[in-house]
Symmetry: C2
Subunit: 256 residues, 2 copies
DNA sequence: AAGTGGTCTAGACCACTCC
DNA sequence: GAGTGGTCTAGACCACTTC
């Protein structure tokens, strides 16, 4: 035989999608790209499970082994979550915890800090914000400032900017509608799902207003954490700049 | 048949070792433990490749698939390195770079900093050092201080403690024998291979001697990185405390 | 009971590196 | 050319969750 045997011709167009990709690449690489697309476009959400292994495998015309390999990689990458007997789900990001990893406070480091909203305004975005959030020149944003404290002691001051057409439902709901964890509120109130974030840590000096809030001296060192959170499709959702006293900062890493 | 079929009885005792483990655990978990032991004990080193897949698989009486799964995990974990057509090797740790990731200096962030040794002494260890390195009360250590700079500008001051019976060959060789990267020197001169490390970042104030070396003011904020490096078997090899000016500190993380 | 994911196997074939 | 790791398949069987 000189011609390649025809594919097992599954019911739908999944196999066609695979065939349309660059066939010099290994099957599992091409399959991962296709699955990533369906995650990024929001076709699969944390609420609805993906199709089962056998269904997916023969939709794409690949073996169960190859499919499982790819799903495993996506799980390792933190994009998916699998529960035996239940199903495979897009993972809901839980980033609210990570900031507080950095700051030690006696032994009470596990409990969730209190959160008080100090500002809540819609206003035109300045240039730093428009650039970070990739907005047009005259875009409006919802701006908020929070003070987070633990056992009465201030931990972090946070300034947060949210692009406005997108987060308009938050304005209707008002600041009281926000829980201590913001990302679940974003999802429930505005349907915005955070998929990941990048953070940058630097050290700066405390200004007058932060000094009052953080109960330290003007000019004392503070750790500044700038975070840009993105949706699964890569579009910027939230810019957040957090500041905490440097003398309570501690960060551990394991290197291998 | 009521009895379990006999194992394929491979040539050596590998299968016996697997059978001796807790058989309520999945095969791949037990196999990983066995392979980890052989890495930790130093039976396999970065210089000599592991046996091939087929050899290893039937030594342990498992399928190639199960063996590959475990090797893949160890690669992901950074313990092994595989090269097609060549072989599988224990990975040589390359931690010297990680510290400098944290400090930005214009665009010259990739080039290796210069290194000047300011101190080189054997002396009794103080309590902080004995505790970190898990030494006896009257242990001796080799102490060194290095100044690392880039393009003439000081970047980091490092204090380093090495447990002494273990690193005695370094004393013979003298400070001139050390390259800018210490870990390769440890391996070549004293046969000590670093397998991993844990680091803790905090913010402190600059003392008088550091101020002179780092060219900043006394009391200025500095970032302090405390690192404990360990051998593959878990025993502490090196304690290192590095300090750098906070105003050049920058650290990026991706969260998912 | 039905459906999900997890474990394990056996074997074919391919791509690469080394000698 | 011999030996290495990488890809992919097909199928058996198990453990678990949900209804």
């Amino acid at each position: 035989m000189t011609s390649t045997p025809p594919p097992p011709s599954p019911s739908s167009s999944g196999r066609a999608a695979l065939d349309a990709t660059d066939d010099r690449l290994p099957l599992h690489v091409r399959l991962r790209e296709l699955l990533l697309d369906r995650i990024r476009t929001g076709e699969w959400t944390p609420a609805t499970p993906l199709p089962g292994e056998i269904a997916l495998a023969d939709h794409y015309g690949v073996s169960k082994g190859t499919l499982r390999r790819v799903l495993g990689e996506l799980v390792d990458q933190g994009l998916l979550e699998r529960r035996r007997g239940d199903g495979t789900y897009v993972r809901r990001a839980r980033l609210d915890h990570s900031l507080h990893r950095f700051f030690r406070h006696g032994s009470a480091n596990d409990i969730l800090p209190d959160s008080r909203i100090l500002r809540w305004d819609s206003e035109p975005a300045d240039t730093k914000v428009t650039e970070s959030l990739e907005l047009g020149a005259d875009a409006e944003v919802l701006t908020l400032r929070r003070l987070r404290s633990r056992a009465g002691a201030p931990v972090l001051v946070e300034d947060i900017w949210l692009p406005l057409p997108r987060f308009a439902p938050l304005i209707e709901a008002g600041p009281e509608a926000l829980g201590p964890l913001l990302y679940p509120s974003y999802e429930k109130l505005a349907g915005q799902v955070v998929g990941g974030a990048s953070e940058e840590l630097t050290v700066g000096a405390c200004d007058r207003t932060d000094a009052a809030l953080l109960e330290c001296g003007v000019g004392d060192p503070v750790v500044v954490i700038e975070r840009l959170a993105r949706a699964h499709d890569g579009s910027p959702l939230e810019l957040r700049v957090s500041r905490g006293r440097a003398d309570t900062f501690r960060y551990r890493i394991e290197l291998t």
